[in-house]
Symmetry: C2
């Protein structure tokens, strides 16, 4: 169906090129350090060309984050195959920390930087395939349902948010303070393992 579709495809292609260049630069140097002009240089366009594909720099970031959120959710759902729900919980926590360790700059933008609230229209939560928090909640709910947690723990959100905060604390503190010679840091894997283990010990029956 002719040139109309070809142009659509070309447009999509350069959009992708912009995203790729931005992802690479953001990931290696951080959002603030990267300029529109440098992104444009990478793909041999002028800086203003980007504005024909994205509203502004934040829109670029937002799109990348959405992709990363989905990727995180996908990596976590791999833990769903474990038979024991408490094992699932532990493995999910460790996988979460690993994600942060692997993509620290993405993690910073996703979870350590305040964002404007999401437009209620385009909120599409609850699908564990795309929503890591929904996945976590499902595991916690399963732990409660099968009687693995202390009987007074019935608030799925409270338990989920605390597990999340725990692993977030480990990786976020590491990202912000890894080259801080004030504290003699234990190896990250040790801290990750001990955090998940301690939280789980604190909630299981």
């Amino acid at each position: 169906m002719g040139p109309k579709e070809r142009r659509e495809r070309e447009r999509e292609e350069i959009r992708g090129k912009i995203l790729d260049a931005a992802r690479e630069l953001f990931a290696s140097e951080g959002y603030e350090a990267v300029t529109m002009r440098r992104i444009a240089d990478r793909i041999e366009y002028s800086a203003t060309a980007i504005y024909f594909h994205f509203k502004d720099k934040d829109a670029l970031l937002k799109e990348l984050c959405e992709h990363d959120f989905a990727q995180l959710a996908q990596q976590l759902t791999a833990m769903d195959q474990l038979p024991d729900p408490v094992d699932k919980l532990r493995a999910t926590g460790l996988a979460y920390i690993q994600f942060g360790l692997e993509y620290p700059n993405h993690y910073r933008l996703m979870f350590m930087t305040p964002h404007p609230p999401v437009d209620p229209d385009e909120i599409r939560k609850g699908n564990p395939e795309e929503d890591a928090y929904a996945f976590l909640k499902e595991i916690v709910a399963e732990c409660i349902r099968t009687g693995r947690l202390r009987p007074e723990l019935q608030d799925v959100d409270l338990v989920s948010q605390t597990m999340w905060a725990g692993v977030h604390g480990v990786i976020a503190l590491d990202i912000a303070k890894c080259n801080d010679n004030w504290v003699e840091w234990c190896p990250l894997e040790e801290r990750a393992a001990f955090m998940t283990e301690t939280l789980i010990r604190g909630i299981v029956r």
Copy 2:
């Protein structure tokens, strides 16, 4: 002793004015949103005048952070009067979260933003009066010494860093995600209490 000291005093005075203006603006609007020119406007000086008192914008931030670190340590040490070491640990965790809640913008700069490593010369750690981490370590050490923790837990740093990461996770996630309508957040006090309680239950004998 004459005009020399008066000038020294005057210099100190405007230095303080700059710091006060910067603190107020940083705290209410965040570091990046505040410009040197606006700080200068507040105290009715030109922007360049600031550079006679501080090397650059980062130096301003660094000095403010140092002050805040000391204030945090001071607030935490108030918990030292509690008789029971485990109670101390719990109260310290809650006080830490309260500090973050009270000064979220300071907290962001202190603990959620990567900083260049501290110059080894001017590192002055270990004094619990000024060093919150040293204070935490002392409490954990006391818990271990008095046999309140599980016997296999002998690494003071690992336990301290995990307690820290836990409360950091609660407040850091709240600061970054408080206006995120994706997740239905439990009240912060609930999350704070449950985190400290769960971690403590996970480490006590």
